[in-house]
C-alpha cells in the first residue's frame, strides 16, 4: 500500500465517529486495530470497547459504507484479542472527550480510588473542580460512570478506566 493511499484511508476513517460519542473519531478511540489494503480490497479489523456495545455493529456498517463509497471493496472484521483498553484512546481523543463533557479515564489506581473509595479526584468537565462525587457506577452507557460536580452542580459522565 502506498503512503498516499495509506493517508487517504486514514483520513477517511478519521471522519467516522462513535455514534454514542460523536466527537470522538474511531481512530482516536483506538478501536481500529489493523488496516490492510490490497489494491482496491480493504481489510479492516476493529475491536469492541465493551462486548455488548450496541455501537459496534453501527461502526462496522459505517466503515463499510464509507470505504465502499470511496471505491474500495471493504471487509470489516471484529477481533476480540487483545482486548481493548482505555489506554488506546489517543491524547487527542482524550481532549475531545473533555471538551464534549466526558471526563477522560484516569490511570488504573486513581480510577479505583475514584470509583470505589469515593475519592474526589475526577475533574469536572464544566468548571475544572475536583470536588466531584460519583452518582452511579454505571452511566448512560456501559463505558461511563455518572458524576456530579459539587461546586458548579454540573452532572457529567466519566469514562471508566478499562484495563
Amino acid at each position: 500500500m502506498t503512503s498516499v493511499q495509506n493517508k487517504n484511508i486514514d483520513n477517511l476513517l478519521r471522519e467516522l465517529t462513535d455514534p454514542e460519542i460523536p466527537v470522538l473519531s474511531i481512530m482516536d478511540m483506538g478501536i481500529v486495530r489493523e488496516v490492510e489494503a490490497n489494491g482496491k480490497d480493504l481489510f479492516i479489523k476493529i475491536t469492541p470497547t465493551y462486548s455488548g456495545c450496541p455501537a459496534m455493529d453501527t461502526i462496522a456498517t459505517d466503515i463499510k459504507l464509507k470505504m465502499d463509497a470511496a471505491g474500495y471493496n471493504t471487509t470489516v472484521k471484529l477481533v476480540l484479542s487483545p482486548a481493548w483498553t482505555t489506554d488506546w484512546i489517543t491524547e487527542n481523543g482524550r481532549k475531545e472527550l473533555e471538551k464534549y463533557g466526558i471526563a477522560a479515564p484516569l490511570d488504573e489506581t486513581s480510577d479505583k480510588h475514584a470509583l470505589i473509595d469515593g475519592k474526589r479526584i475526577v475533574k469536572c468537565t464544566n468548571c475544572g473542580s475536583t470536588n466531584t462525587k460519583m452518582v452511579s457506577q454505571f452511566g448512560s452507557t456501559a463505558c461511563k460512570a455518572l458524576f456530579q460536580c459539587e461546586d458548579c452542580l454540573e452532572p457529567f459522565d466519566y469514562f471508566k478506566c478499562l484495563k
Binding site: G52, L80, A83, F138, G139, A142, L162
Partner: protein, 240 residues
C-alpha cells in the same frame, strides 16, 4: 453452558429495564445485562461457526427447545425483589469471575479471547453486586431480613454451579474448560468475606439436586423462553 448462563441471566436483568428500584440501579442492572448479552453473542457466533450449515447466533439463541438450554437453575430465578436480584447476581458473579480467570488460559483461542474481554466487565459486576449485598445486609432490619431471605432461597442452587457434568469434565481434561474445584475455593472465600461484612449468615439449608446443565429446568424456564422466543417464532427470520 456459558452462553446460556449469560443469556438467561441477561434476560432476567433486562426485565428490570425501566423497573429498577432507583435510576442508578436500573441503569447498572441493564448495563450488566448488556455486557452479558455481548458475551452471549461472541459465544453464539463461535458456536454457529462450529455448527456450520444454516446456524446463526440468532438461531442458537432463539430457536432451541427448553431441554437444549444448558444454563444453571440459579440464573432462572425470578426477580422476586431487589434482594433476590442482587443475591442472584452476586452468587453468579462470584462464580463467573474465577471461571473467566481460568478460561483466559484455555487452549481454545476463541474462548480465551472472549474470557479476556468478559473478565474486565465481570469485575465491575462483582464490585456492584457485592457492594449491594453488604449495603442491604448491613443496612436496616428490613433490608437485612430481606437479603438473608433471598440468600436462603438462592443458596441451595449454588451447588449445581460446581457439580461437574461429563462434558465439563472432558473439556477440563482437554485444557479447554475450567477446573470447577479450583473455582469453588475462590468462590467460597469470596462468599465468606462478603457475608461476614454484610452481617449475613451463610445458609445451611441442603443443596437442591438441580440439573439445568443437562437441560432439566424449572417451571420458570418456559415463561422465560416464551418471552425470549416470541418474536422469532411469530415472525421467523425477522431482523432488527
Amino acid at each position: 453452558m456459558l452462553g446460556d448462563n449469560s443469556m438467561i441471566l441477561g434476560h432476567r436483568l433486562s426485565e428490570l429495564c425501566g423497573h429498577g428500584p432507583s435510576l442508578e440501579t436500573d441503569i447498572a442492572l441493564t448495563n450488566i445485562s448488556l455486557d452479558l448479552f455481548g458475551q452471549v453473542r461472541s459465544y453464539f457466533q463461535y458456536a454457529a461457526e462450529m455448527k456450520g450449515g444454516e446456524a446463526t447466533e440468532d438461531s442458537i439463541a432463539f430457536l432451541r427447545f427448553d431441554r437444549d438450554y444448558r444454563n444453571v437453575i440459579l440464573v432462572e430465578q425470578p426477580n422476586t425483589d431487589f434482594a433476590h436480584v442482587i443475591g442472584r447476581q452476586f452468587l453468579y458473579d462470584a462464580f463467573h469471575l474465577p471461571l473467566l480467570e481460568q478460561l483466559m488460559k484455555s487452549n481454545d483461542e476463541m474462548i480465551a479471547a472472549v474470557a479476556a474481554k468478559s473478565i474486565k466487565e465481570s469485575r465491575y459486576h462483582l464490585r456492584f453486586s457485592s457492594s449491594w449485598v453488604k449495603r442491604l445486609g448491613d443496612g436496616t432490619e428490613e433490608s437485612h431480613n430481606r437479603m438473608q431471605a433471598a440468600m436462603n432461597h438462592l443458596f441451595p442452587f449454588v451447588s449445581e454451579l460446581f457439580r461437574e457434568t461429563p462434558i465439563e469434565k472432558e473439556m477440563a481434561t482437554l485444557g479447554i474448560g475450567a477446573d470447577l474445584k479450583m473455582i469453588r475455593e475462590v468462590f467460597d472465600e469470596k462468599i465468606k468475606a462478603v457475608f461476614a461484612e454484610a452481617t449475613l449468615e451463610i445458609p445451611q439449608n441442603p443443596p437442591r439436586q438441580t440439573n439445568g446443565k443437562t437441560g432439566i429446568h424449572t417451571e420458570q424456564m418456559g415463561f422465560i423462553l416464551a418471552e425470549l422466543q416470541y418474536m422469532q417464532r411469530a415472525y421467523p427470520n425477522m431482523q432488527w
